[in-house]
Structure formats: structure tokens, C-alpha cells
């Protein structure tokens, strides 16, 4: 069930990228898609247990797999920096293309 929701999020994001016209909306759709991917990593990490994997004297039972969590932390940072970079690019484009419609920008900028 949870897995289906996660995939639905990824697909929603993907279709958003294709169907939305506005460049900012496209970037937000990409963010939705990456949220789905992050959720999927968290889901897989918690297959065998739910507790935070922190070393301590008390045994609290099955803990979550730390590897996917560590990996996705890297991916979140990368994704966030890429989005920041893209938004800066969009800001620059917005001066000459105030509507930010990707098809219009594309028409104006392809030889």
C-alpha cells in the first residue's frame, strides 16, 4: 500500500514535468518526483525494523537499515543544490520571458 503511494508520487511528479507549461511548476514537479524517490529509500530502509539506528546500551529491537538512509541523505543534498541552481537560472530567464512558459522560451532560444 505504502509502496503504491510512493510510486504514485513519483509518477505524479513525472507527469507534472511533462504536462505543466510553466518552468517553475516543472521544477516543483521535479521536486515532487524526488520526494517520492526519497520516500522509497526510507521505505526500503524500514523493511526490517523501525528504530533509528543509533548505537546505545539499551537494545530496542529491530532497527532500520542505515545504508539507504545515508545514501539518500547525499542524494537529498545534491537534489537540493541542483534545484537552487535551476531556480537561479529561471530567475535570470524571467527578466526577458516574464511568463516563463517553457515552449515560448524554447521557441526563442533554438536556432
Amino acid at each position: 500500500m505504502l509502496e503504491a503511494c510512493v510510486f504514485a508520487t513519483i509518477l505524479c511528479g513525472f507527469f507534472g514535468i511533462v504536462l505543466k507549461q510553466n518552468l517553475v511548476m516543472k521544477i516543483i514537479s521535479m521536486d515532487v518526483m524526488s520526494t517520492g524517490v526519497v520516500a522509497y529509500y526510507v521505505l526500503i530502509a524500514s523493511r526490517n525494523g523501525l528504530f533509528t539506528p543509533i548505537l546505545s546500551d539499551v537494545n530496542r529491537g529491530a532497527y532500520a537499515d542505515p545504508v539507504p538512509q545515508a545514501v539518500i541523505l547525499t542524494a537529498i543534498v545534491i537534489g537540493f543544490s541542483i534545484q537552487a541552481l535551476m531556480l537561479v537560472g529561471v530567475m535570470k530567464l524571467a527578466r526577458d520571458n516574464p511568463t516563463l512558459e517553457s515552449s515560448e522560451i524554447e521557441k526563442g532560444n533554438t536556432p
Binding site: F14, M30, M33, T74, I82, L85, M86, G89, S103, E106
Partner: protein, 477 residues
Amino acid sequence: MNIITIAWIVLPFFLGFVIYLCPRFDRSLALVTSLASAAYAVLLFTQPIPVALQLLDHFGVTLIADSLSGFFILTNALVTMAVLFYCWQSGKSAFFYAQATILHGSVNAAFVCSDFISLYVALEVLSIAAFLLIAYPRTDRSIWVALRYLFVSNTAMLFYLVGAVLVYQTHHSFSFAGLQDAPIEAVALLFLGLLVKGGIFVSGLWLPLTHSESETPVSALLSGVVVKAGVYPLLRCALVLEEFDPIVRLFGVGTALLGVGYAVFEKDTKRMLAFHTVSQLGFILAAPVVGGFYALTHGLVKSALFLIAGALPSRNFKELQHRPIHTPIWIALVMASFSISGFPMLSGFGAKVLTMKSLAPWQPMAMNLAALGTAISFAKFIFLPHKSQESASVKPGFWAAVILLIGGLLIANVVYFEAYTLANIAKPLAIIGLGWVAYFAIFRRTTVKLPRVLEEFDHLIGVMSLMLILLFWMVWA
């Protein structure tokens, strides 16, 4: 050797940030990194066994450096060096050199990775650095082209990440070998990411616009090495796991034909070169065992061609027919064109012969067709008018860069000098001759303009879903 490997991977990133701190030494520091890579590649060729590193545990970072990566690293070193020579006097800011150094470092890292997550990190750092380099002129067009590049590659990498975690789920390890009995959807998702990143087949159609609209040195970097960061893992997968070898070969053939099909009708120099990058990547994939050497020759020749195309008086072939180019430039252009068409004396010949030898039985027909297409489209360059009196107006570093690259092409002949037999020499000559005849008979006059629908942004993203289905079906079958 392990310590040297790690130091060599870290060096470009370290120096890249040092360049920000001491902008006065920007060019020399960037040159040091590329020299270090060249030295490391030579060191790799002398190693009897591949360098394999496993940091942390089975789920940690794994690196493998052997002669295949050696070829790719050497390509990276030489192309970066040539681009630095080209830009030496151009007054580019320290920012440009810092990004070029970081790009160099991330491409290097991608060439030794042997697990999916280190590869992911390397590819993402590479896209950020490439984005900044493409957008360096700060014009609207360059920003749009860069944004489009980053968008397409980041979307593909999201699919890739899902594939990576599925591999982890089956094996509790991210290494390439884990692909063995991973679920089919994992393979399809990972391959989709790599195909888009490497500019292969229909999903690689973002490449022509990106490579043709960037500045000359940046196009040379992108076409020469950056796309190969996506191709190398595919080769590695095909070599590690037998069952993916046919899929990779099939994509090789498909992309070789697709690229050439577009290139023969192209009327713009830089776009034609970019389409040829697509097609030559197909040659690299068509025979994974010998892909490294082909990648080296292609990297050298394509960056040389992009640098030379930047020195031509126009980008339009029609106009170039009426505007003679300076003879020395023409000679360099013809040498590079001959190498890429597979003419003896230059290492493009050895690479082509080696590739043709390692093909599967069903491939040669299609690859010969692609080679014919290459000869046809480069006839457009070879038969341009030239004149010696014309005053040369090239950038100061131009000749240093082009001589380095073409010299590299000549020296690389030693890798496979056994290729020089009569039968081997006759075949490319026949193909080139046939190509020239076809050029004069048909393609010189045609004015077919192929539609560019598939290169539109929305379609690039949409095609990813179709490719995913295709890949799924291919792995399943």
C-alpha cells in the same frame, strides 16, 4: 597504488577550490590536474593487475581501475589539457577554470567507480559543473540550454536512484556485480539513467542542441569526455555481466545508425559534429571489449574538430562553400576528418578495425553502413575550398591545442599497429571512396531538413517513459 588512486581522485576537487582562493594561478593549477591524470593513466597501463579498492564494507564505495578506465582517463587528461591551452589567453575568469577542474575530477571519478552510488554522486557533480560551464556566457540562450541539460539529466538520475535502491534491496550492496539477479525493473531504470546521461539512442537527443550551442571549448569538453562518463558504466556492466552484453551492443548499433542518419542531412557544422558524437558513442558500445581505445581516439578527434569548427568563418556549410578557409586550418580539419572516417595513418583507423573485429555476427552490416555515413558527412568538411593567402585569425592557443590532439591521434597508432594489413587497409578506403561518391552524387545537393520534434524539451522527458518500457521489455525478453 591504493593511496595514489585516492590522492588522484581527490586532487582535482581540492585544486578546484584552491583556484577560487588563489585566482592568479588558475590556469597552471588546472593544468597540473590534467597532467596528474595523464600520469596516473600511464601508471595504470603499466600495472599488471587492476587496482580494486573497497572502502568501508560491501555496501561502501568500491573502485576499479584497469586498462579500460586507463583509456578513458587518458582521454579526459588530453582533452582537458587541449581545452586549457585553447583558453590560455582568452581571459576567462578563475571561475571557468575552477569549474573545468571540478568537471575533470568528477569525470575521473566516474571512470573508476564500480558501485552505483559513487557513480551517481560523480554524475551529479558532473552535471552541475557542466551546467555552470555551459551557462558561463550568461546569455539567455546559454542559460536555457544549460537549464534544459540539467533538467533532463536530473530527471533521468531520479529514475536511476530508484533502480539503485532496488539493486540494494536484493543484495545489500550497490556494486555493479549486484545487477546479476536484480529484478528486471531495477536494470531497466538504471540503464535508462545511463542511456540518457550518455546520450545514447533516442533518449540522447538532448545532446545535439547542448553541444552545438555551447561555446567552442565547452563543446569540445562535453563531446570529448563528459558524455563518456555515462557510456563507461554501460561498458563496465556489459563486461562484468554477460547477459547484458547483447543489449548494450544493440543500443550501440541503434545509436550509431540514428546519429549518422541525422548527420548526413545536417547543414550546420557544429550540429553535424554533435550528431556524430551520438553515432560514435554507438561505435564505442557496439564492441564493449575494445570500447576504451575507440573512446580515446573519438575523444581526441571530436574535441579537435570542435575547436577547429570554432575557427571556421561560418557555421553553415552553404556559406563555407563560398568562403575559402586558411590552408593550415584546412589541413588540420582534413586530418581530423580522415581519422574519424577511419583512414589509415591515424589512430581512428586502428580503432575502427579493432571494433569491427570484435563485433557479434549480426552487427557488421549495420556498422559498415554507419561507417559509410561517417565518410559521407565528413566529405562535407574535406571538400571545402581553401586558400593560403587568407590572413589567419585564430586564437593564440588554438594551434597548441590542435597539435596536441592530432599528435595524440598519430601516437595512439602504436596501441594497435597490427591493424596495418592489406585487407584491413583496403576496406576503409573502399568505404571512404564509396562515401565520397555518394556525397557528390546525392548528398551535396539534397536539401532535406529533418524535423526536430524529438529534440523539444517536453518530448525529451516524455521519451524517457517510452525508453523505460522498451528497456523493460528488452531485459525481460
